[in-house]
C-alpha cells in the first residue's frame, strides 16, 4: 500500500521555462506590433508630405498662371491621395485608439491638408467657372452613433461617386482651423453635420436623402459612366 506521504517537491524549472517562453512570445508580439505601427506612421507621414508638396505645387502653379489657364480640371491638379489617407487614418485610429497622441497629430495635419485642398478647389472653381461637388462633414468619435452610421453612408457614397470630394473633420480635434471652417461654412456646432454645395444638413442623412438633396451627383454619375464607356470602347477598338 503506497499511501504514505513522500516528500513532494515543485520543479520550479517548468514554471520558469513557461514564463520565459510566455515573456518571449509577448515581447516578440510587442516588438512586431511596434515595428508595424512605426512603418505605418512613416507611410502615412510620407503620403501627407506628398500631398503637402502636391498642394503647394498646385497653389504655386495657380498663382503663376492666375486665371490665364483653366485647361486642367480639378481632379488632376488636386491630390488624389487624400481619400486614401483618410482610410488609413481611420484604420490607425482603430489600431492605436482615438486618444493616441501620434494619431491625433496625424489627424490634425490631415485636417489642415483637407482644408487647403477644399480652399484650392473652391478658388479653382470660381476662377475657371466650374462648380465642384464637395461634401464637408463634421463628426465626433465620442458617443455619436449617428456619426458612425453617417460614416458608413459616406464611405458607400465615395465608392459610388469616386469624383465626389468628401472632407471629413473630427469636430472634437483641438484645431482652430476646423472651428474657423465651421464658422465660414456656417455649419452648426452639432454632429453629425454636413455642408454640401453650400447647403447645411444636420443629423443623420441616408444615401437616398443626399442623392435627392444634391442633383449634381446624378450628373456626376452620368459623366463617370460616359468616361468609363469611352475607355471601354477604346479598349475594344
Amino acid at each position: 500500500m503506497q499511501t504514505t506521504n513522500k516528500e513532494r517537491t515543485i520543479q520550479w524549472a517548468r514554471y520558469i521555462v513557461a514564463l520565459v517562453l510566455t515573456i518571449a512570445i509577448f515581447g516578440s508580439v510587442l516588438y512586431i506590433s511596434q515595428v508595424a505601427t512605426d512603418k505605418r506612421m512613416s507611410e502615412v507621414k510620407s503620403i501627407q508630405d506628398k500631398i503637402a508638396i502636391d498642394l503647394l505645387s498646385s497653389e504655386t502653379q495657380f498663382s503663376l498662371l492666375s486665371a490665364a489657364g483653366c485647361t486642367q480640371d480639378g481632379d488632376s491638379i488636386l491630390a488624389p491621395e487624400i481619400g486614401q489617407l483618410g482610410d488609413r487614418l481611420t484604420f490607425m485610429e482603430g489600431q492605436l485608439g482615438i486618444d493616441d497622441p501620434d494619431v491625433i497629430g496625424l489627424k490634425k495635419y490631415y485636417s489642415l491638408l483637407q482644408i487647403k485642398d477644399y480652399i484650392l478647389m473652391k478658388e479653382l472653381g470660381d476662377k475657371c467657372n466650374f462648380k465642384p461637388v464637395t461634401l464637408v462633414y463634421f463628426y465626433s468619435n465620442d458617443n455619436c452613433s449617428d456619426c458612425t452610421k453617417q460614416g458608413y453612408v459616406l464611405t458607400a457614397l465615395r465608392e459610388k461617386y469616386p469624383l465626389l470630394r468628401v472632407y471629413s473633420f473630427d469636430a472634437d480635434l483641438d484645431l482652430s482651423a476646423i472651428k474657423t471652417l465651421q464658422t465660414v461654412t456656417s455649419a452648426p456646432g452639432t454632429v453629425p453635420s454636413m455642408v454640401i454645395g453650400g447647403k447645411i444638413y444636420t443629423g443623420f442623412k441616408s444615401i437616398e436623402e443626399i442623392e435627392i438633396a444634391v442633383p449634381a451627383l446624378a450628373k456626376m454619375l452620368a459623366e463617370q459612366k460616359a468616361v468609363e464607356k469611352k475607355a471601354q470602347t477604346k479598349i475594344t477598338q
Partner: protein
C-alpha cells in the same frame, strides 16, 4: 482611466491565459518519463488482475442503465473477478424493473435504497456493501448510468495501476455519437480535456477523479473514508483529499468511456454550473491546506492558478460581451444604412491587423487548436479535421456564461454562510 483599467485587465488575462497554455505544453512535452520521485513511470510487465467492483448508481435511468451494465459485462476481464453493483437510488421510473433481468448473474449485484438527493450517498451505500460483503475486491470504481465503457477500458486502467505509487486511474472520456450542437461542442471540449488530463497527470496534479470509470484502490477508502457531499462534486473533493494524503492519481489515455453529454443548452448549463460552482467551493474550503503548499508538489501551484483564472474570466465577461456585441451592432448598422452586406475589403498590407491584443489572441487560438489536435489525433487517434471544430468559436462565450453564473452563486452562497 476606464480604458487603462480595461487595458491592464486585458493584458493581465491575456498573459495569464497564454502562460497557463504554455505551462501545460511545457509539462506535456518536456516530460522526462519519470515520476516526481525519480522513478521510471512505466507499467510493469506483470499482469495486474485483481477483483474489481464497479458501482453503477442510478436515479431514473430506465433508458440507459441496461446499456451501461451491458458494456461492463462486455469488458475483457475474467467474469469471476468482476462485480457490477447496480444501486437504484430510489428511482421513480422503471429503472428497478429494467435491471431485474440481471437477477442470477454472478457478476451483478442489485441494490435499492431511498433517494437522499445526491449521488455521493448512493456511492457510499455501495462502498459499505463492498466493505461488508466483498473482502476480495482490490479495485473499486464507478460508472454513471448514462455512460458506457470500451471493452478494453478496464485492462488499460489496470495497466496504469502498475506504475509507481498509483492509487487511482482516471479514464479518457469521449462523447458518444453526438447529435446536437451542444454535444458536438462537448466532443471537442472532451478531446481538449484528454490532453489537459495527460498534462496534469504528468505533473501529478490531477484534481478530479471523474464519476465515470475512475478506478481506485480499495485502500483509498480505507484511509480517507467515504465520499463527502462536497457541494455535489464528490469526485473532485475525494481527488483533493487523495492529493493531500500524497496518493497518486494517473490518467490512462486508452481507457475509454463513452458518455452522451447534455443535449441542450439548459441541461449543459445546469451540469457545468454544478461542476464549476463545486470546484470554486471545494477549492475555497481547502484553500489553507492547498494554496502554495510545497508539500503537495505542483498541486499547490496549479490549483490556485486555475482558481485565479476563473475569477479573471469572470472579470473579463463584460469586456467579452462588449467585444461580441459591438461588431454585431456595427455590421447591422452598416447593412441597414448602406444595404451592403459585404463591405469593401482593403487588400493593402497596411490594413493587416497588428494590434498586440489581436496577435496574442490569434496565438492563443492557435495553441488552443494544437492542444485539441494533441487530444484528438495523438491521444485519442481520431480524425484531425472535422466540422465540429467550428464549435470552438462560440465555446468561450458558453464557458464564460456558466463560469459567471457559478461565480455569482458562489459569492452569494458565501455571503449566506457568513451570516
Amino acid at each position: 482611466m476606464f480604458t487603462n483599467i480595461k487595458d491592464i485587465l486585458l493584458y493581465v488575462s491575456l498573459f495569464g491565459g497564454l502562460y497557463f497554455q504554455v505551462f501545460l505544453l511545457v509539462s506535456y512535452f518536456l516530460w522526462d518519463g519519470v515520476t516526481e520521485f525519480g522513478e521510471a513511470d512505466e507499467p510493469t510487465e506483470t499482469l495486474f488482475e485483481p477483483t474489481v467492483a464497479v458501482m453503477v448508481p442510478c436515479f431514473n435511468e430506465e433508458k440507459t442503465v441496461v446499456g451501461t451494465v451491458e458494456s461492463l459485462l462486455a469488458l475483457d476481464y475474467p467474469r469471476e473477478k468482476l462485480k457490477i453493483i447496480v444501486i437504484d437510488d430510489g428511482s421513480t421510473d422503471n429503472t428497478w424493473n429494467e435491471v431485474q433481468k440481471y437477477v442470477g448473474n454472478i457478476s451483478v449485484v442489485l441494490l435499492q435504497k431511498k433517494n437522499e438527493g445526491s449521488k455521493f450517498a448512493a456511492m457510499n451505500y455501495g462502498l459499505r456493501y463492498i466493505k461488508s460483503h466483498m473482502a476480495d475486491v482490490g479495485i473499486v470504481g464507478c460508472l454513471d448510468a448514462d455512460s458506457a465503457v470500451h471493452h478494453t477500458a478496464l485492462r488499460e486502467s489496470l495497466k496504469e495501476f502498475t506504475k509507481p505509487g498509483v492509487m487511482a486511474v482516471v479514464p479518457s472520456m469521449v462523447i458518444d455519437h453526438p447529435q446536437t450542437f451542444m454535444q458536438y461542442m462537448q466532443k471537442v471540449e472532451y478531446e481538449l480535456a484528454t490532453y489537459a488530463k495527460q498534462a496534469f497527470s504528468r505533473l501529478n496534479t490531477l484534481y478530479i477523479a471523474p464519476g465515470p470509470f475512475t478506478m481506485m484502490r480499495r485502500q483509498v477508502f480505507d484511509v480517507l473514508g467515504e465520499y463527502n457531499e462536497a457541494h455535489h462534486v464528490e469526485d473532485m473533493e475525494i481527488a483533493l483529499r487523495m492529493q493531500l494524503q500524497g496518493m497518486r492519481l494517473s490518467h490512462a489515455v486508452n481507457s475509454l468511456v463513452y458518455t452522451k453529454g447534455p443535449r441542450t443548452w439548459p441541461a449543459l448549463l445546469k451540469q457545468r454550473v454544478r461542476w464549476t460552482f463545486g470546484f470554486i467551493m471545494n477549492v475555497w474550503d481547502y484553500r489553507k491546506k492547498v494554496f502554495f503548499n510545497d508539500k503537495l508538489g505542483h498541486v499547490g501551484v496549479t490549483i490556485p492558478i486555475l482558481f485565479a483564472m476563473i475569477w479573471l474570466l469572470v472579470v473579463m465577461i463584460p469586456f467579452m460581451l462588449i467585444g461580441l456585441i459591438t461588431p454585431i451592432i456595427h455590421i447591422v448598422q452598416r447593412i441597414s444604412v448602406t444595404g451592403q452586406i459585404i463591405p469593401k475589403i482593403q487588400t493593402d498590407v497596411f490594413f493587416i491587423n497588428t494590434n498586440v491584443f489581436s496577435i496574442i489572441s490569434l496565438i492563443t487560438i492557435v495553441i488552443f487548436f494544437v492542444t485539441i489536435f494533441i487530444g484528438r489525433k495523438k491521444l485519442l487517434r481520431q480524425k484531425m479535421f472535422s466540422i465540429d471544430l467550428f464549435t470552438v468559436i462560440v465555446y468561450p462565450f458558453f464557458a464564460a456564461w456558466w463560469t459567471g453564473q457559478s461565480a455569482y452563486n458562489a459569492v452569494r452562497g458565501k455571503k449566506k454562510s457568513w451570516r
